[in-house]
């Protein structure tokens, strides 16, 4: 492992999310060690189609995050539609119905800020394509807590507003292509 301290990966994406995540998540191998928490902005109706889609494409178990569920390595958790997803300090998940943040519920900032609190230096935060500014403050919190920040190359992103906002908030974040992010994550979570 290149960074043995890392204990979790958080990913935020909006417009263009499905294609970007289809590049990354199906490549992660079955023996992957880290939990992967994903917030995608989806409309607030109750059937979240992302989970079945990625279940059919991924080698790892994929599920909708449940309230007060213990985080398990090698599982991909998606935030349910219309709920914020948070990490509790003891490494369990929590959901909330608090008001939307950046007009979004789930909000990437809410996940990243709570995960930064819980994991401090042991976290990797990744901002992918999107047409709004959610995630910028969250990624900043990841960096402030000592975690690693990665932003999809705005030049290749389907929508560049979210990566650009994240880079503006975190100039020190590493810019990577989707392919580079994929191989980085694969190396990170396999022995």
């Amino acid at each position: 492992m290149t960074q043995p301290a890392v204990k979790a990966v958080v990913i935020g994406a909006s417009a263009g999310a499905v294609q970007a995540l289809l590049t990354i998540l199906p490549v992660l191998p079955p023996d992957y060690a880290l939990p992967v928490l994903v917030v995608v902005h989806v409309p607030p109706d109750r059937d979240n189609a992302l989970v079945p889609l990625f279940q059919s494409k991924c080698q790892l178990p994929v599920k909708e995050a449940e309230d007060k569920e213990a985080l398990v390595g090698g599982v991909v958790y998606f935030a349910p539609s219309d709920y914020h997803l948070l990490v509790e300090t003891e490494g369990a998940l929590a959901l909330s119905m608090d008001e939307p943040v950046n007009y979004s519920r789930p909000s990437i900032d809410v996940l990243f800020e709570s995960a930064a609190d819980a994991f401090e230096t042991d976290l990797v935060g990744i901002i992918l394509t999107g047409a709004n500014h959610d995630g910028a403050a969250g990624l900043k919190a990841v960096v402030a807590a000592g975690g690693a920040a990665i932003v999809e190359d705005p030049a290749e992103a389907h929508a560049d507003a979210m990566p650009l906002a994240a880079l503006q908030a975190c100039p020190a974040a590493t810019v990577m292509s989707l392919d580079a992010i994929t191989s980085y994550l694969s190396t990170l979570g396999t022995a």
Partner: protein, 274 residues
């Protein structure tokens, strides 16, 4: 480390609120409460949570403002219409067999669900034999619930939800529009008792046929969730019903054996016979 200092300040503030005012948020899920307190600190203009604590300890007028951050949920009438449809089609046929009914809306906040249930029960001809208990810990929210006045721009969503829930009347039958507000008919609350009650510190107060407590327990930690579910178990009549939020469940509770899944998709449970 600044972050653990913040956590310490939060712990002290929650202890202060409990010792001074008997509001107990100490077993609430930490990540959400932290977000809310940081928001309260920033928006109320305090430099630290400790400064906020000092003010709220010495100035009771600050308490309701802080409670607003810690408790108020904005809901919708007939939120999750399929839940109300399941109540209408699956639960009410059972409730109809009782000569009188008691319903508890636990954590009613500003009352949207109370009026939704009152309208549902009226449409189904059960209103007059039902007593509704609407409880919350926030006095301002309870007052708003009792007033039954909502911004007019929220009504189109409420109306859409009501229709999707299988509504048999028009929502406009139940309110009058007035200066940008929808004022709900007071006859909807003539059988509603609004009351202060805490799932954290209070106990059983009546025997219920249906308890609806949605998106309240997700703010609790596991042991507190279990306390609340135990309270519901004791409060429910034999074969009474419990409705939870769409992402809540009894699966991990010590009390799960006392309940059967009645409409699993809608998180409606039925108390087993003892």
């Amino acid at each position: 480390m600044p972050d653990s200092l913040l956590n310490l300040e939060i712990k002290l503030l929650l202890e202060a609120l409990f010792q001074r005012y008997h509001y107990d948020f100490r077993s609430y899920a930490q990540a959400s409460i932290k977000r809310r307190l940081v928001q309260a600190r920033d928006q109320l203009g305090f430099s630290s949570i400790s400064a906020l604590q000092e003010r709220v300890l010495h100035d009771p007028a600050m308490l309701p403002r802080l409670l607003g951050y810690l408790t108020v949920q904005v809901s919708e009438m007939f939120r999750d219409p399929s839940y109300f449809r399941a109540l209408r089609e699956k639960v009410l046929p059972h409730l109809r067999t009782y000569p009188s009914l008691r319903i508890w809306i636990a954590g009613c906040s500003t009352g949207e669900e109370v009026y939704s249930l009152a309208i549902l029960f009226r449409e189904e001809g059960l209103y007059q034999r039902t007593l509704f208990y609407a409880t919350d810990i926030n006095p301002d929210a309870l007052r708003a619930a009792e007033a039954g006045v909502y911004a007019l721009d929220r009504i189109s969503k409420f109306t859409e939800n009501h229709q999707k829930s299988g509504g048999k009347s028009s929502l406009s039958d139940y309110y009058t529009a007035d200066y940008g507000r929808a004022v709900f008919d007071k006859s909807l609350r003539e059988r509603v008792v609004f009351s202060d009650h805490s799932l954290v510190t209070d106990s059983v107060f009546a025997e219920m046929h249906l308890i609806s407590c949605r998106n309240v327990m997700i703010y609790f930690d596991r042991p507190l969730q279990d306390r609340a579910i135990g309270l519901f178990r004791e409060s429910l009549t034999r074969k009474g019903f419990l409705g939870l939020g769409s992402k809540e469940s009894l699966r991990f509770s010590d009390h799960s054996g006392a309940f059967a899944e009645f409409v699993p998709l809608e998180k409606i449970y039925q108390r087993r016979e003892p």
